[in-house]
């Protein structure tokens, strides 16, 4: 009994709320990957082990399963701090902002980089409750600077918006190149 207790002590660590949820999910994910190794990789004929396409994925996933199991055991042995589901809730809340981000990504090729960026920063300012005139002004200045620095000055590859095609002749070329 004393021996088991000693072993348990060895795995003890500081554990944050939600730790075990992550440890479980990661272990399940690793085991899932391990079951997929035969189907998703190839064992080539007349090839030595070190040149096998399957070799490194197997090493990596083997390591994941091993360490994830140990991490999981560590989580089980350590003292729990309450607040597990509140923490998971915090993780899930981030998906709201991921959704806004992806909408922004889809909007850029449609309405153009500058309008989409303005819309994104202004909307987020309102959403996070920081819509003071100062912050909104700052968001406008920030958006314009980002577009000017990256698209006009550094010439990074961001497609021009479809909407720019509808602009009058004089501005259209300018908008297509710089905004």
């Amino acid at each position: 009994m004393a021996r088991i207790k000693t072993l348990q002590e060895l795995f003890k660590r500081y554990r944050r709320p939600g730790d075990i949820v992550f440890a479980t999910l990661f272990l399940v994910f690793s085991v899932f990957l391990l079951t997929q190794v035969p189907g998703e990789t190839v064992w080539a004929k007349r090839t030595k082990w070190f040149a096998q396409p399957r070799f490194w994925p197997t090493v990596a996933i083997g390591g994941m399963v091993l360490f994830a199991s140990l991490h999981f055991i560590g989580s089980l042995c350590s003292q729990r701090i309450p607040g597990r589901w509140r923490e998971v809730g915090f993780w899930l809340k981030s998906f709201e902002f991921v959704a806004y981000f992806l909408i922004y990504v889809l909007l850029v090729p449609q309405i153009g980089y500058l309008p989409a960026t303005l819309a994104f920063t202004l909307f987020l300012c309102v959403r996070i409750g920081e819509a003071t005139p100062l912050n909104l002004g700052a968001a406008v200045v920030f958006s314009i600077s980002v577009v000017v620095i990256f698209r006009a000055f550094l010439q990074v590859k961001v497609p021009a918006g479809h909407i720019y095609e509808a602009l009058p002749d004089g501005i259209r070329a300018f908008a297509l190149t710089y905004l």
């Binding site: 002590e9 795995f11 660590r13 190839v42 091993l66 992806l102 987020l124 980002v146």
Partner: protein, 506 residues
């Protein structure tokens, strides 16, 4: 001499100098804003630098890398919030000094110690480069494989108390790198018949997600906490003089920084831990540590600033990144078709020296900037954290989307953003994933080419450097096991009071 002249001529272009200036001053500002570290900034800037000349892009990123820790000391000292993670130790002694009304003394010492550390590491680099140029060609495939393996092992065991987590995340990184079409037999690996997985998972997409987007999400979802305001008066130059009184601590700490920077997988935290312990043990006033000791402050800042320069050594000489930021820089080299490794030291030594000189200039620019505009910086750092989240999110988009205008990349990056958020909340390390991706790729390629000439297992380590690396790996593992057993025994002895802060495990 000729070498230095030709390197200087590489730097003497307006675009290189502009990159140096923007990088160094930008780095200080970014470092000073709590919540944005050099990693976030470099991840965002990375794709933008692809269109530059290699020396321009690298100078810009080096500027951000080398100067962010200077800036990070400001909020650490004045408002007890480290600007970047590596300034956390600075708060221990910096903030108590501020509370005693010695804010300007603490800041000035922090700047001076940082400057000393930075310069010391560059001098070491310049002295060491001829030696490196001599040794580097002896690194063949098997030596590089062993060095990369050592890097992975070190990054795992260096995460004391989180070794299992670091191990599983490093393996996850190696796995991520294997996804897609592999180049030797042209078979698909883990693509699940999805066309978007065939080209693999891009390192930069992962980096942007794990570092930048996760930070933005964290700032957006968390409660608002605006950094407090602070003011500093007095002469900031005095620290340079005071540093002389502590030159022993500064030199030893910088040496630890250089050593730990050179070893892949170790980095700032170990260097700081060693220097701080040394400074405390040898101090005449050890009780003052943690309550406002100038020596503690110097140990922390000199050690962390000596690392970036030294971390360039394994990167340039062997093509092996020692931590996340140099791993990101490795991709810049590749994009510009400059392959770091032994050949770079033999064929393009002027390029290497030019990078060192850029680092040298950077430290001077940063010191001048800091001594003259700390007051201004204190205003900038008061950006509301959630607004900062909006800014990082917007910039992350440019970073990911400009790579290849792919919506899928953005979605993958966002996915890694959520993953990074979970890791950050659970206090689990992110760096092993990045190093796993980069070093895993190196190990796969190098093992394949090394084994072609190896017939028996002993052949693998029959060359001197390979043998030394192999012994080092065994030593690291043995020492780690020994430390774990010893810590475990100590903990069992005082079993009652080890509740939640106990340091774990093997």
């Amino acid at each position: 001499m000729e070498l230095i002249l030709s390197s200087l001529s590489m730097l003497a272009h307006w675009d290189v100098l502009a990159a140096l200036l923007i990088g160094s001053i930008g780095g200080v500002i970014i470092g000073a804003i709590p919540g944005v570290g050099a990693a976030v900034a470099i991840a965002i800037l990375l794709p933008a630098t692809f269109s530059f000349e290699p020396i321009v892009g690298l100078t810009l990123l080096l500027g951000v890398y080398g100067s962010s820790m200077y800036g990070g000391a400001i909020p650490a000292v004045l408002i007890n919030t480290p600007g970047t993670a590596v300034n956390a130790l600075t708060t221990y002694d910096g903030y108590p000094m501020t509370k005693k009304g010695q804010g300007h003394r603490a800041l000035s010492l922090a700047y001076s110690a940082s400057f000393f550390g930075g310069m010391f590491s560059i001098l070491c680099l310049i002295v060491l480069s001829p030696v490196l140029a001599m040794i580097a060609p002896h690194f063949g495939s098997r030596e590089i494989f062993l060095a990369a393996l050592m890097g992975i092992i070190l990054v795992v065991v260096a995460h004391r108390g989180q070794v299992f987590a670091a191990g599983m995340l490093a393996c996850f990184g190696i796995f991520l790198n294997t996804i897609g079409l592999e180049p030797a037999k042209y078979t698909k690996r883990f693509t699940f018949d999805q066309s978007w997985l065939t080209s693999g998972v891009d390192l930069i997409v992962v980096v942007l997600g794990l570092f930048a987007i996760s930070q933005a999400l964290l700032l957006l979802v968390d409660k608002e906490h605006q950094p407090g305001s602070a003011k500093v008066d007095g002469n900031l130059f005095s620290g340079l003089r005071e540093l002389f009184a502590f030159k022993r601590v500064a030199t030893v700490s910088s040496s630890f920084g250089v050593l730990m920077g050179m070893i892949p997988g170790v980095g700032e935290f170990t260097a700081q831990f060693l220097s701080y312990t040394y400074a405390q043990k040898t101090s005449k006033d050890p009780d003052l540590f943690g309550k406002g000791s100038p020596e503690g402050l110097i140990a922390s800042e000199a050690a962390n600033n000596a690392v970036p320069g030294a971390a360039m050594i394994p990167l340039l000489a062997l093509g092996i990144p020692g931590e996340a930021l140099t791993a990101m820089m490795l991709s810049v080299f590749y994009v510009h078709n400059v392959i770091p490794g032994p050949q770079l030291f033999q064929g393009k030594l002027d390029f290497v020296v030019a990078l060192y000189l850029a680092l040298f200039l950077l430290n001077i620019i940063v010191l001048i900037f800091l001594l003259s505009s700390t007051g201004l910086l204190l205003k900038i750092i008061q950006i509301p954290t959630r607004f900062l989240g909006v800014m990082i999110m917007t910039l992350s988009f440019v970073g990911v989307f400009s790579l290849r205008n792919s919506v899928t990349d953005c979605a993958i990056a966002a996915g890694f953003g959520v993953f990074g958020l979970v890791l950050k909340r659970l206090n689990l390390p992110i760096v092993p994933i990045i190093l796993g991706m980069v070093l895993g790729g190196i190990m796969e390629v190098k093992l394949r080419s090394a084994m072609a000439r190896v017939h028996s297992p002993l052949d693998f380590i029959d060359r001197p450097i390979a043998a030394i690396l192999f012994i080092a790996i065994i030593l690291i593992l043995v020492l780690h096991v020994r430390t774990v057993i010893r810590e475990h025994k100590v903990r069992l002895e005082r079993e009652e009071d080890t509740s939640e802060t106990s340091t774990q495990q093997g």
